[in-house]
């Protein structure tokens, strides 16, 4: 039995943040129905990455929206709204990520929905919160959130300028935090039948992600992070922390004693940095020497010296190398899913295992409105809406 079996989630959200939360709930066993705009649907359907179109839709949409159903409606049409309200009466969870004010106008804000379903767990995502502020209406887009929260000053080298993390990381964190708020509230509801209003914003999630570094900043007289000149992997850590080029590839080195490394690698020039504080204070010098030295041998050679000595190190793999590796294969991380029309594609699975079970599901993403008929019939929406 999956933890969320028999739970119904009504998801109005688009793009990544909200839909990534409902994907997690779906994999945990919930039934997720996407409420999608008539004729258009989730805009993510046409948000292509590297121009790849799979069975008429973007690869990203397929990744985020598998294991869900689609109910296509016109929220400006009262008849359709009535059908959605009927669904919400039966729902355990509702999610949306519209801009502030939209749900009030449509009549699906928390107050209205909890009036028809007092124990619903209502999840809301915003970019910059719903409080009155000059940025309330700014678009909640991942790169913009990375840019305004200081995150782009952490990756890359000192002279790289701002460097974004090359994924929609803030969206994913916000989705993860929303899922946590929803799950905690579902638990409370299971115990005492209480509804809840859960709100997260991308801005707060971006800072939660940086809680270690921003706390350092707050308590360190406001000193800004300084990335190392070369091979930076964390602005706040000393040498050797970073990724280095070797004769035939790359080598990642985590924390480790500089003199010990010097001895093992036969790099006499760094062995002179005996004082622990120098690993941070003189990290640019040390990294420069180390980088030159590591170029002289292959990754395999360095690993064969460092691993037996329990030095924290690793090869640096691309996806092709990773997917061919037994360390990856043993995870069973890839699943094949199938859409209603028979189109099949491969994607990753939920990263959590419960009772030793992989939370896989063969259900692919839905075509826009593919489940309208079934849902209308099952929930008896036509008669209700006509009444």
């Amino acid at each position: 039995m999956r933890p969320l079996e028999d739970y119904l989630v009504i998801d109005f959200s688009q793009f990544l943040s909200g839909p990534s939360a409902s994907l997690r709930l779906a994999d945990m066993g919930a039934r997720v129905i996407k409420i999608e705009r008539l004729g258009v649907g989730d805009i993510c359907r046409t948000l292509y990455t590297s121009n790849l179109i799979m069975n008429g839709e973007s690869s990203v949409f397929h990744a985020i929206n598998r294991n869900k159903e689609s109910f296509e409606v016109d929220l400006k049409n009262e008849y359709d709204c009535e059908m959605v309200r009927e669904l919400l009466k039966k729902a355990d969870v509702m999610i949306h990520n519209f801009r502030p004010g939209v749900m009030q106008r449509l009549g699906f804000d928390y107050q209205s929905v909890s009036a028809i379903n007092p124990t619903i767990i209502y999840g809301e995502i915003s970019g910059f919160g719903n409080e009155e502020s000059e940025w309330k209406n700014k678009p909640g887009q991942d790169l913009l959130l990375q840019s305004v929260t200081g995150l782009t000053a952490l990756t890359g080298n000192a002279d790289s300028g701002p460097v974004a993390m090359g994924l929609s990381i803030v969206d994913m964190l916000t989705g993860a935090h929303l899922a946590q708020g929803l799950l905690a509230s579902l638990y409370r509801r299971a115990i005492n039948n209480q509804g809840a209003f859960v709100q997260v914003s991308m801005l707060e999630s971006a800072y939660d992600f940086q809680f270690e570094t921003i706390t350092t900043f707050m308590n360190d007289g406001g000193e800004l992070p300084k990335r190392s000149a070369k091979n930076n992997a964390n602005a706040y850590l000393g040498a050797p922390y970073g990724i280095y080029q070797t004769k035939n590839g790359h080598l990642a080195l985590a924390m480790g004693s500089i003199p010990v490394l010097g001895n093992l690698l036969g790099c006499v020039a760094i062995s002179v940095y005996q004082d622990v504080a120098e690993a941070f204070d003189k990290r640019d010098e040390i990294k420069t020497i180390l980088a030159d030295h590591l170029l002289t041998e292959t990754t395999e050679k360095w690993l064969s010296i460092l691993e037996p000595a329990d030095i924290w190190c690793a090869d640096v793999l691309n996806w092709k190398q990773l997917l061919a590796h037994d360390g990856f294969k043993v995870l069973d991380m890839i699943q094949e899913v199938e859409m209603l029309d028979g189109y099949k594609y491969e994607t990753t699975r939920c990263p959590i295992r419960i009772d030793g079970e992989l939370l896989i599901s063969s259900k692919g993403s839905p075509k826009l409105g593919q489940d309208n008929e079934k849902i209308i019939k099952e929930f008896n929406l036509k008669t209700i809406a006509n009444a």
């Binding site: 590297s50 121009n51 790849l52 919160g129 000059e134 887009q141 991942d142 790169l143 990375q146 200081g150 782009t152 990756t155 890359g156 974004a164 090359g166 993860a176 946590q180 509230s185 579902l186 409370r188 299971a190 209480q194 809840a196 859960v198 709100q199 997260v200 914003s201 801005l203 707060e204 940086q210 809680f211 270690e212 921003i214 706390t215 308590n219 360190d220 800004l224 964390n234 970073g242 790359h250 990642a252 985590a254 924390m255 941070f280 690793a314 640096v316 691309n318 996806w319 092709k320 990773l322 037994d326 360390g327 294969k329 491969e346 994607t347 990263p351 959590i352 295992r353 419960i354 009772d355």
Partner: protein, 383 residues
């Protein structure tokens, strides 16, 4: 307000970041979290500092990750201590550990053994690379996990070589996933009244972070990501103008948008580079360079005024100093103050989740090692 996890008792046998960050999330949601720590040394994170910042005997880093928790000191190799712990486990709802594979079996606190003590326990396990396969005994360290996962080929530009994310992203995401799994398990247990096992690993979590682009890779004939060769590009899979551009006095970022509209607004001629939609991807590098030439000529504020007025998705690139002075930063109350026993305060962030309109504040600072041992012995009659 009653917090959703009120009454839930969590025992945290974890060190460093992944496990303890999950414990912090549960604590802010209302659970009581007790760290089980080795006498004398405790969580190794107590001594792991960044920039050598300490608060009393423990690093500021430890304080950041372990606020709102208690500490119980016990030696897992000491029979008396182990007996007490087993009593405590019999009263707990959740226990979590991040030992390497095999350690808990040796101690006798592996899942089957704990189920025998407490048939309703939720047992969480964090590993680096799962419990199987050739990597199972490798150190579960964030940079190393990033490095084997392919993540290092997504940021920066192609000429940089692999560029890791500058934060412990696999630890943090794994902590988030663990928290989700544990709460789902609480819901399951509310129905079944039986124990639940929850397992996560840093590697699976960092692969999940790449789920969109990995899905693209899996269905695109195994084409590896191609980062732009120029500075400022922000996503290997997205076309121009997506990226960050230097201005006369800083940087501006542009998300996805209509290139022709944007170039009209900023008065930049791209007619030779952009004749059809596919060019936004095909000529990405040249387009980013071309737009960069224009952005260099004026201040960030000048461009923001022009572009925002037309609804273009853009923002200034800010550092912590600038970001923490934003109106919205104050309004959302990102910061809270922790009260230390010595009367001093430290500032840190608040849980990002709001419940029924309220922030999940907590002024309780991180515990000194073993500070709650005696009171917990008494309260749970551990003897």
């Amino acid at each position: 307000m009653n917090r959703p996890l009120e009454g839930v008792l969590v025992l945290e046998f974890c060190q460093f970041l992944a496990g303890p960050s999950a414990g912090l999330k549960l604590a802010d949601l209302g659970a009581r979290v007790i760290k089980i720590e080795r006498p004398k040394t405790g969580d190794a994170c107590r001594q792991l500092s960044i920039k050598n910042l300490f608060v009393d005997d423990d690093s500021l880093l430890f304080h950041t990750i372990n606020r709102n928790k208690e500490s119980y000191a016990a030696d897992l190799k000491n029979a008396d201590d182990l007996l007490k712990l087993k009593k405590l486990i019999s009263k707990a709802d959740i226990m979590v550990h991040n030992f390497r594979p095999g350690v808990m079996e040796k101690i006798g606190l592996d899942y089957p053994a704990v189920q025998a003590i407490n048939p309703k326990i939720i047992y969480g396990m964090v590993t680096g690379y799962s419990n199987e396969g050739p990597w199972r005994n490798k150190p579960g360290q964030d940079l190393l996990v990033q490095s084997v996962s392919g993540l290092a080929f997504l940021s920066g530009s192609a000429v940089d070589g692999p560029v890791p994310f500058g934060l412990s992203v696999s630890d943090i995401m794994c902590g988030n996933h663990l928290a989700q799994g544990l709460m789902a398990a609480l819901i399951k247990r509310a129905k079944t009244k039986k124990s639940v096992l929850v397992e996560v690993s840093l590697l699976e979590s960092i692969l999940d972070v790449q789920f969109e682009v990995l899905t693209t890779y899996l269905n695109d004939g195994g084409k590896l990501p191609e980062r732009s060769t120029v500075k400022g590009s922000a996503h290997a899979y997205l076309s121009a103008p997506y990226g960050m551009y230097q201005t006369k006095n800083g940087y501006i970022s542009l998300a996805m948008g209509d290139l022709n509209q944007i170039c009209n607004i900023i008065n930049c001629d791209i007619s030779d580079l952009y004749t059809e939609a596919d060019d936004a991807f095909g000529n990405r590098d040249q387009l980013i360079l071309r737009l960069g030439e224009t952005f260099k000529q004026q201040n960030t504020e000048y461009w923001l005024n022009l572009l925002e007025a037309e609804g273009i998705w853009c923002a200034a690139v800010l550092n912590y100093q600038e970001a923490t002075n934003l109106d919205v930063y104050q309004h959302l109350k990102i910061e809270q103050t922790l009260n230390l026993p010595n009367g001093e305060n430290i500032k840190t962030t608040v849980s990002p989740i709001r419940l029924n309109g309220e922030k999940l504040l907590s002024a309780k600072s991180a515990p000194a090692l073993g500070i709650n041992t005696a009171s917990i012995d008494l309260e749970f009659e551990l003897g």
